[in-house]
């Protein structure tokens, strides 16, 4: 019998719905969410829950791509259309650019994608190289992980490291070992998808520890509360990694609420659901909190005659409680 987790399985006393009153005045930054796979309903719900900015890492689209052109268009869409779409809902969109571990296993394709990367990583709002790292932990995955770490160093960009589902502990250690070998400063590296087994070493070695609150397969947020109680807020951040699987784009605000309910201080909640991610990825020089902390202003660079009241372009809201659609 172990491990004290029975207590947190007792859900009886916990809130079952989001209380928007409690969320008032709270701002959130989700540093890992794949909006390309999400709907407009998600964007609206995220904005309503206080998410003001997010990072969309480039990743695998669910099936392997067969040519470099689709990577090019994918990167362009993260920087163009998805950025615009997010802005329409009042959420500032950043992204990380990289070759994900699964597709690193197609060497011919990986070579072509590597040649594309320098053309994208210097674009505005690219806050890191990511998500990169290990999946099956193959030789090719290691090769392209190392090459992309070099690229990150050259561009002075943070790195967002995906840690594997299988053989996680070893994969996480190896990811950190290699980053250090390649000469990266741990403070520029965000190790993602941590759990109770990996967090201690990640923090002790000076890396950032990100936690993905993702139902069934990764962390639940009751476990997250326990982790924050144990390790505090320093270099810890929470994300949703919401994508095309059963996942929750409100994972960050929900976890914040749960932490508050469980007596964690507002300062700690803010650090792990907002400011730590900004500090870590802000090392790219690409995040200006003035762009979102007082409400996101769509289309700022296009203001006419410096007319700052212009908030146009945001999507009109529909009344979802009505069966009439106008």
């Amino acid at each position: 019998m172990c491990c004290g987790s029975k207590a947190i399985e007792n859900r009886g006393a916990l809130p079952e719905t989001i209380d928007n009153e409690l969320l008032k005045g709270m701002l959130f930054f989700d540093p890992h969410v794949h909006m390309t796979s999400r709907t407009t309903d998600d964007y609206q719900a995220m904005a309503d829950a206080g998410i003001v900015a997010l990072i969309e890492p480039s990743f695998w689209l669910g099936q392997p791509r067969t040519n470099a052109g689709t990577f090019k268009d994918y990167y362009s869409s993260l920087l163009g259309w998805e950025r615009f779409r997010s802005g329409q809902f009042g959420i500032k969109h950043y992204c990380t650019i990289g070759l994900n571990s699964r597709e690193a296993n197609n060497e011919a394709l990986a070579e072509e994608v590597m040649a594309l990367l320098p053309k994208f990583i210097y674009k505005e709002g690219v806050v890191g190289i990511g998500e990169i790292g290990f999946d099956d932990q193959t030789t090719l995955e290691e090769k392209y992980y190392r090459l992309q770490l070099e690229l990150a160093k050259e561009a002075a960009l943070p790195v967002q490291v995906h840690t594997p589902h299988r053989d996680k502990k070893k994969g996480t250690q190896r990811s950190m070992d290699i980053a250090v070998e390649q000469g990266l400063d741990p403070s520029m590296v965000i190790i993602d998808h941590n759990n109770e087994e990996t967090v201690e070493e990640v923090l002790n070695r000076g890396f950032w520890a990100a936690f993905t609150i993702y139902p069934f397969t990764k962390m639940g947020n009751e476990r997250m509360v326990e982790i924050v109680k144990k390790y505090g807020a320093e270099r810890i951040m929470v994300n949703s990694a919401a994508d095309w699987g059963i996942s929750d784009p409100l994972a960050v605000p929900k976890t914040a609420l749960l932490m508050k309910q469980k007596g964690i201080s507002d300062a700690v909640v803010k650090a792990v659901t907002y400011s730590n991610a900004i500090t870590a990825f802000g090392q790219s020089g690409q995040i200006d909190t003035a762009d979102f902390e007082n409400g996101f202003m769509i289309n700022q660079s296009e203001k006419f005659e410096n007319n700052s009241v212009l908030r146009g372009g945001q999507q009109p809201r529909i009344d979802k409680s009505s069966i009439i659609i106008k």
Binding site: K72, S76, S301, F304
Partner: protein
């Protein structure tokens, strides 16, 4: 090749940039090889060097620029926009094929801010005719910033677009709620086909119980005064 005097525009922009950016950033820009060897990268990298603020419009270089090139609304250009235009002006335009291929490649992997300035810069590209289909492509965009870059205070569309593409621009502008007053050439390019489409659109709006931008009536009235009058009345009655 160029429909304006590039030898005046280039130094005029450089003068504004010199005033408005750090000497380190300005030196980086002017020290790049001419023609640029890695335009796609430098075009992006410029965002790390130049601000997205607007230059002071009261400075002498800015006043000079605005006087010399009056068709462009320079007040809506950021310092970064100007730096990117400067880079584009450094391309070697001697060979049309190479020149257009290079700029197209910048378009093809541009981010939102880059797309916006590329479209705003259309009037300053060499070989004006060569950009018709690119401009028409931009009008098909659903990104509001891109549409505004083409539609607002941009002299390219009215000078170069064939009638069908021009009509698409106006219809799209109305459909997406743009301010027609900021589109150049509205009267000069008005035509019967556009007026007929606008009247059809007005009828659709009426049937849907929706209002319409009153700026369409001067365009339809020229060709269909009676029908315009009837429809205007019906909109008034609906209210």
């Amino acid at each position: 090749m160029f429909a304006y005097t590039i030898e005046i525009l280039r130094p005029a922009i450089a003068a504004v940039l010199k005033e408005e950016s750090s000497s380190e950033s300005f030196t980086w820009l002017v020290a790049l090889p001419v023609p640029p060897q890695n335009i796609t990268r430098d075009f992006s990298f410029a965002s790390r060097k130049f601000s997205k603020q607007r230059p002071a419009s009261s400075s002498a270089p800015h006043i000079y620029l605005a006087e010399k090139f009056q068709r462009t609304h320079w007040h809506s250009w950021t310092i970064l926009d100007l730096a990117r235009l400067y880079l584009l002006l450094q391309l070697n335009a001697a060979n049309e094929q190479e020149y257009t291929t290079t700029i197209e490649s910048v378009f093809n992997q541009a981010d939102l801010g880059e797309l916006t300035i590329l479209y705003k810069a259309l009037p300053y590209f060499a070989y004006g005719k060569a950009w018709e289909s690119r401009c028409a492509e931009g009008i098909r965009s659903n990104m509001g910033t891109v549409l505004e870059a083409i539609m607002y205070e941009n002299s390219y569309p009215s000078v170069h677009l064939p009638e069908a593409a021009w009509n698409q621009l106006i219809l799209k502008a109305i459909f997406t709620g743009k301010d027609l007053g900021r589109i150049y050439g509205l009267e000069e390019r008005n035509n019967a086909a556009l007026a007929a489409s606008l009247l059809d659109y007005a009828e659709e709006r009426l049937a849907a119980g929706r209002n319409i931008d009153a700026a369409v009536w001067p365009l339809t009235k020229v060709f269909y005064p009676e029908k315009t009058g009837v429809l205007q009345q019906r909109f008034l009655q609906e209210k």
